[in-house]
């Protein structure tokens, strides 16, 4: 409980620092490329293209999902997934990769995962903006639920942040963990129904287990807010489960972060 307070306090005290550092973070990641920040869009565009051709046209033969064209359905799930996967990977590596540049000063290390994920959130905001334009122009405004969309954006941010307190600490101390997380993220992509629809015929138990996956909650939440506009998922008990996971992760993450951060430099 005490370390949770320390970590949260450090975040609040350094808000300006987080803002500026995340801006630099964004700048740095594309600084070396000729096309610069254009890659922010190019990268997702290529991925969407490939998944559409393989899964949309190849596997589904171009059939719609309900009333929604497959492409629209696909990008509503892929855009949050881009945010999730890049935040997990960058968040896990965040402390280790930056330790060298901050190790020679007294710096609140708990800020590092935060600004790395905030930098990912900027990219995400741009993509969500484009996504909104696409959805509105193809589906109209009637099914759009902006408040619910905002809720899911904020809750996915909180989830990824508290997760990265755990992963960044563990993968700083044991480098294998970072590789493990890379593999796990890749598998999560297929376990989470982003490219496929869970079959109605699957056993009830399996469906329930799928829904406990917090990433399912986020991805379904984005889709609901953009395509059906209902409140069903937010009102469901899965909301409680989701936030419970966040609190537990934050508790555990800040405990190990505070416990081990004094030794981080020695692990370099």
């Amino acid at each position: 409980m005490k370390s949770m307070k320390i970590v949260l306090q450090e975040q609040l005290e350094n808000l300006y620092m987080i803002g500026r550092l995340s801006a630099y973070e964004l700048k740095k990641s594309y600084a070396d490329n000729v096309l610069g920040s254009f890659w922010l869009l190019l990268n997702p565009l290529f991925q969407i293209g490939v998944y559409w051709i393989v899964f949309g046209l190849g596997v589904r033969g171009g059939r719609d999902v309900g009333d929604t064209p497959f492409v629209i359905w696909l990008i509503c799930g892929l855009v949050p997934w881009f945010f999730i996967s890049s935040s997990i990977l960058q968040g896990s590596n965040s402390v280790y990769a930056r330790l060298n540049s901050v190790s020679k000063m007294n710096f609140p290390l708990s800020v590092i995962p935060t600004y790395v994920i905030v930098a990912q959130a900027y990219t995400h905001l741009i993509l969500v903006g484009i996504l909104l334009l696409i959805v509105i122009s193809s589906q109209g405004l009637s099914h759009l639920n902006v408040i619910s969309l905002l809720y899911f954006m904020i809750s996915s941010f909180c989830f990824l942040l508290s997760l990265s307190f755990i992963t960044s600490t563990l993968s700083t101390m044991v480098r294998d963990i970072h590789l493990l997380i890379q593999t796990a993220t890749r598998m999560l992509f297929y376990v989470t129904p982003i490219l496929w629809l869970p079959s109605e015929n699957a056993p009830q138990l399996l469906q329930d287990i799928f829904k406990l996956n917090p990433f399912y909650y986020v991805v379904e939440g984005y889709r609901d807010s953009l395509l059906t506009g209902g409140w069903g998922l937010i009102a469901s008990p899965y909301t409680l489960v989701f936030w419970l996971i966040i609190v537990v992760m934050l508790f555990f993450g800040s405990a190990i972060h505070v416990k081990f951060r004094k030794q981080f430099v020695d692990y370099l």
Partner: protein
């Protein structure tokens, strides 16, 4: 007089791992057994304000570990380090990001040192002037020469205005002009009652500039006191050490370590 920095039987040890898996086992079960390398072994000293302490010693004697402890970068395993005020460590290229420009690095490092937006705006022109980088200030740091990097690093750190300044070999890559400029700046620091730790292999620089000297020898304080005496003894020791063959040096090392561990037993 009140002290600025106080070390009380500070020990910093690093465990020697043969396999990565041992590291993991240690994390899980916290075993105390194993081989340790004592970077610093029960050292104690006190430094008053306005002092410039030259830290001297052979390679691997624990000087950099000492500077990291003062700057709060690492924590001691035993004993306590008491620092009054903020400490800033200057090491070559530390905290500079190669991809960003000099100007961006000034802001970045300022931010990381906990300065506000206004303070950063205030120090930026001072840093640029002091570092003498010219039009390179808008170029990425990776294009800088090593002298330019260390000038920029030094300029940022001194302008941040810490209470305690730790300079770890950072002047060794600068040319004479810049070194003199740094020394002048450090004298200014001295006059305003700040404490400086100056870690250098250049005995002449240490002699001309420090008020006290701390001689660290294989993780122990060999001598601490006024600069003249300690520096002379160290100079004498260096002369003898340089004349030794490799076997003699190894023997000296072992003897010293044995002697220290005896001393510890008697205490």
């Amino acid at each position: 007089m009140s002290y600025k920095v106080k070390f009380e039987s500070v020990t910093k040890k690093y465990k020697m791992y043969n396999k990565q898996i041992d590291k993991l086992k240690d994390l899980l079960w916290n075993r105390g057994k194993g081989d340790y390398h004592y970077a610093l072994n029960k050292i104690s000293f006190e430094v008053e304000e306005g002092e410039i302490v030259g830290v001297i010693g052979l390679n691997g004697s624990g000087k950099s570990t000492l500077s990291n402890l003062i700057a709060g970068v690492t924590m001691p395993n035993e004993g306590s380090v008491d620092i009054k005020g903020t400490a800033s460590l200057i090491a070559i290229g530390a905290g500079l990001n190669n991809q960003l420009t000099g100007l961006e690095n000034i802001e970045l490092k300022g931010l990381m040192m906990g300065l506000s937006k206004k303070e950063i705006e205030e120090i930026t022109p001072k840093v640029i002037e002091f570092a003498e980088i010219g039009k390179f200030i808008n170029q990425p740091v990776k294009t800088y020469s090593s002298g330019m990097k260390s000038r920029l690093g030094f300029a940022i750190s001194v302008n941040i205005d810490p209470d305690i300044l730790v300079i770890d070999e950072a002047l060794s890559v600068g040319d004479q002009t810049f070194t003199n400029k740094c020394l002048a700046k450090m004298n200014e620091f001295k006059e305003s009652g700040k404490t400086i730790f100056f870690i250098s292999h250049s005995l002449s620089q240490v002699k001309s500039f420090c008020t006290k000297a701390l001689w660290i020898h294989y993780g122990h304080v060999k001598e601490y006191g006024d600069i003249g005496k300690v520096a002379n003894n160290y100079g004498q020791f260096l002369k003898e050490y340089n004349a030794m063959s490799k076997e003699e040096r190894d023997k000296l090392r072992e003897d010293q370590l044995k002697e220290f561990s005896h001393g510890l037993l008697q205490v």
